[in-house]
């Protein structure tokens, strides 16, 4: 019997249903795990994504032929039974389960295990074959609970208020930025947002997600009228004329890469908060274990090392090369 999913130079392909999952070259029919740029690309004939992921995809990709599906809803595409299950990566992100002739495969896209209170909580999906990312697939990457990081950020914000600097916090516009918003203490002060962040906020608020009040930074916004404010921006705004309006700033990045001192220092920010929407080492291992799968396919990240480890731990694991990018340290929105 042919494998349910195969790996082609266009993306992950299902022959029984004649569709691709997160393809990186234009195809007729694409199932999309989530709206980040390396997973949801433009140019496909037809798209299928979760109802919760759809608004962001339309916002990013414009007028696309997008069909929506609920979490847990089962749908037949050709000879394949397909369903989407929460991946807890960003709001609306899904693992895609594909069943053909009793064989179950799950393509998990990007995922994390911790419940961030904003994305739909991660749901382990039993399967025979599991496709996993490995962005942080090294034992040096382990995350502290979200509440600890929230406390660190609040302390930094308070320190900034004492020293008269504006805290400038950098994060991806989609997902990380909104997660950080829910972690901020709204009693500490006003929250100003860069346009790229606020655009996504609007999309997510419109679909019913609760975010704290924010103020969009426009050319005529006077920072003086928001004393003690924190500014949430994409990292690409750092050091630009846009950022200069806030006077002396204290910069911070929020990313899993901040776990490494070398990366922290390279970004030359005043602070690095270790927080990621990707699973850490223990998260990856527990997720894989819970699927019960014996065959593991490892995509973007430390694929070679992680695969070698899985094989030594008794799985049948293989590296799959894709064009997904994981959590880039730099500013692109993935």
């Amino acid at each position: 019997m042919d494998p349910v999913l195969s790996f082609t130079d266009r993306g992950i392909y299902c022959a029984a249903g004649d569709f691709y999952i997160d393809p990186w070259r234009p195809v007729d029919r694409a199932l999309i795990t989530h709206g980040h740029a390396d997973h949801a690309r433009s140019g496909h004939g037809a798209y299928l994504a979760t109802r919760a992921a759809a608004p962001v995809m339309r916002h990013r990709l414009g007028d696309i032929a997008l069909d929506e599906i609920d979490f847990g809803e089962r749908r037949m595409i050709g000879g394949a039974a397909v369903s989407f299950h929460p991946a807890s990566h960003v709001p609306g992100s899904a693992q895609i389960r594909v069943e053909v002739g009793g064989q179950v495969w799950v393509a998990s896209g990007d995922y994390k295990i911790e419940n961030d209170g904003l994305s739909e909580p991660f749901e382990p999906v039993p399967c025979h074959h599991f496709i996993t990312e490995s962005t942080f697939g090294l034992p040096v990457f382990t995350w502290a609970p979200q509440a600890d990081i929230a406390a660190q950020i609040d302390t930094w914000w308070a320190d900034c208020q004492t020293s008269g600097r504006t805290p400038l916090l950098g994060a991806y516009a989609l997902g990380k930025a909104q997660r950080l918003l829910t972690m901020l203490n709204p009693d500490r002060g006003p929250i100003l947002t860069h346009g790229a962040v606020e655009n996504t906020n609007e999309v997510l608020r419109a679909q019913g997600l609760t975010l704290p009040p924010t103020h969009r930074v426009t050319p005529d916004l006077a920072p003086k009228e928001y004393p003690g404010a924190l500014v949430l921006a994409t990292p690409s705004a750092f050091g630009t004329p846009w950022a200069r309006r806030f006077g002396p700033v204290s910069t911070a990045f929020a990313s899993g890469w901040m776990r490494l001192r070398g990366v922290r220092r390279r970004r030359a920010a005043d602070r690095g908060f270790v927080i990621s929407d990707h699973a850490d080492w223990t998260g990856l291992l527990s997720a894989i274990k819970e699927t019960g799968a014996e065959n593991i396919y490892v995509t973007h990240g430390y694929t070679d090392i992680f695969t070698k480890y899985l094989n030594s731990a008794g799985y049948t694991a293989a590296v799959v090369s894709t064009e997904y990018e994981g959590e880039v340290v730099e500013e692109t929105d993935t």
Binding site: V140, T142, L260
Partner: protein, 529 residues
């Protein structure tokens, strides 16, 4: 240790100087004297004797983390730092402790005398008692290499703020051959009459690079010119009938260069000389010859014969026991000249010759011939300038030759370490030999972040083959490689090695076929090797 860890975190997390000085000064005001002393020692590169080998540390850490050793070894280059890798993979500590920095240093020293089983138990116990940053620092105390952006200047500024003493004086006090065992914090920093230290050098004065032609510097007559030698900057201290040789990095190199023992026969006691240490036989032999000497703490007789060194003296910092640094350079130079010129050829010292010039044009022309003199360029020193401490703009300029360049093809790429863990930054370049591409150099630096990102994306899509962490990529991109020197090297496939190679430019405009050839490199070797 918590106080020291907090200090470390404050210094490490900011790129601004003032908060660093504030944090250090506060530490020097509040911490116990013993901890202060060790703090200075650590940040100036002094550390307790290594109690455990790094091999054992890796094994014990992997074992405690419950991961196979190979996985630890794979993680280490990605993190880029052993102490950090260990701190990151260990499970959280089960015990609590708040002992001082000095306590842990004593702990480490006592460990050194234990049998291996005892050392292992002690290390595991320490890991289980220390929080993440404290653990990292504990590991650093074992492995050494605290590179955390505390320059000597920062240190002296903070000490000055805490002690009320002048910065240059503190800089002088911190140099030399002290260790926390031989001195107290009070004697090192505060005591009115610190024990005179015969070996103590002066802080080096460092030149700024000249970016524009020198005509903006004013009248040529106000300036002194000499070659910028391609050796090791060194300071030779002659006091109490003995000599000490210091490198610019404040490393004592006396044993590495036994030739200078004979200086005491030629130069009077209570003299301190600044100059360039060069491998020399009827003239400077080039840096490659000197390189062989640098790596060795003790020198075999053959090497002493093959690559003898001497000092090209260019400044006089102490004369007859008197600190000369406030005197004008011209006066210092005159005494130096009278001292060195009459000496016999067997003395391991020469005067770094002056390049006479009346017009800036003369010196511009002279500079272009620097390679023929085995020099890297010219130095310009204001005749009335004092000898300052550190890198100061205005009186001393180095005007280096433009680097040599070749256009080469990118053929292998490897991910960076540590700070560049997820970019491809380590590249191997090749030149043509007939229809083949022969690798001849690696290069790591010179591109902008944006370019590194671009080439990283390209490498991901154009990998032909993987050899462990190394990817062979499609030969497609040409880069201009700049370097400071070229010499023969039997260890390299191409037979050639470059000095300080870096990527000067990404030559998008150059087709593959127009990259340089091995013959071109051999021509450069014949001219400059």
């Amino acid at each position: 240790m918590k106080r020291f860890a907090d200090l470390f975190t404050l210094i490490d997390q900011t790129t601004r100087t003032n908060p660093k000085v504030d944090a250090l000064a506060a530490y020097f005001r509040d911490a116990p004297d013993e901890d202060k002393l060790w703090c200075i020692a650590i940040f100036t590169g002094r550390r307790p004797k290594r109690a455990v080998t790094t091999t054992r540390l890796r094994e014990w850490a992997a074992e405690r983390a419950g991961i196979p050793l190979w996985l630890f070894e794979e993680s280490y280059p990605i993190v880029g730092d052993l102490a950090e890798t260990i701190a990151l993979i260990l499970p959280p500590p089960a015990q609590r402790s708040d002992q001082s920095l000095s306590y842990w240093i004593t702990y480490l020293r006592e460990m050194a005398a234990m049998p291996e089983e005892g050392r292992k138990a002690a290390v595991l116990d320490a890991w289980d008692r220390l929080q993440a940053t404290e653990r990292f620092l504990f590991n650093k105390l074992i492995t050494g290499g605290f590179r955390i952006g505390v320059s000597q200047k920062l240190m002296t500024r903070a000490l000055s703020r805490a002690s009320g003493r002048e910065e240059p004086e503190l800089a002088h006090r911190l140099m030399g051959d002290w260790s926390p065992d031989t001195i107290s914090y009070h004697d090192l920093v505060e005591a009115e009459d610190a024990a005179a230290d015969l070996s103590r050098p002066y802080p080096f004065y460092l030149a700024y690079a000249l970016e524009q032609p020198p005509k903006d510097l004013g009248a040529p007559a106000d300036w002194h010119a000499e070659w910028k030698w391609d050796g090791i900057r060194g300071q030779i201290v002659l006091r109490g009938g003995v000599h000490h040789v210091w490198s610019r990095g404040e490393e004592l190199m006396t044993d590495r260069f036994p030739e200078f023992a004979r200086l005491t026969d030629f130069i009077p006691d209570n003299t301190v000389l600044d100059g360039e240490i060069l491998a020399w036989r009827d003239g400077p032999m080039g840096f490659n010859a000197l390189q062989k000497r640098i790596g060795r703490k003790t020198v075999p007789a053959k090497l002493l014969k093959d690559a003898p060194v001497l000092l090209y003296a260019y400044d006089l910092l102490e004369w007859d026991g008197k600190d000369m640094r406030a005197q004008p350079f011209g006066d210092r130079r005159r005494i130096l000249c009278d001292l060195v010129t009459p000496l016999s050829d067997t003395a391991p010292i020469r005067l770094s010759p002056e390049i006479p010039f009346d017009t800036w044009q003369t010196i511009e022309t002279a500079r272009l011939t620097a390679r023929e003199e085995s020099a890297e360029g010219v130095m310009l020193k204001r005749r009335d300038s004092p000898y300052l401490a550190g890198r100061k703009k205005g009186d001393w300029w180095k005007w280096k030759l433009d680097p040599l360049t070749v256009d080469a093809v990118l053929i292998y790429a490897q991910q960076g370490h540590g700070r560049r863990a997820n970019l491809f930054t380590d590249f191997t370049f090749a030149v043509w030999k007939g229809n083949d591409l022969v690798p001849f150099t690696k290069a790591y630096s010179g591109l902008t972040d944006e370019e590194f990102r671009k080439i990283t994306a390209w490498v991901r899509k154009n990998t032909l083959q993987r050899f462990g962490p190394v990817r062979q990529v499609r030969p497609e991109h040409v880069f201009e490689i700049a370097f400071e020197g070229i010499h023969e090297s039997p260890r390299h496939k191409s037979g050639i090695a470059l000095r300080f190679p870096r990527m000067a430019r990404w030559r998008h405009d150059k087709p593959l076929a127009e990259a340089n050839s091995l013959d071109d490199l051999h021509q450069l070797l014949d001219t400059y090797g």
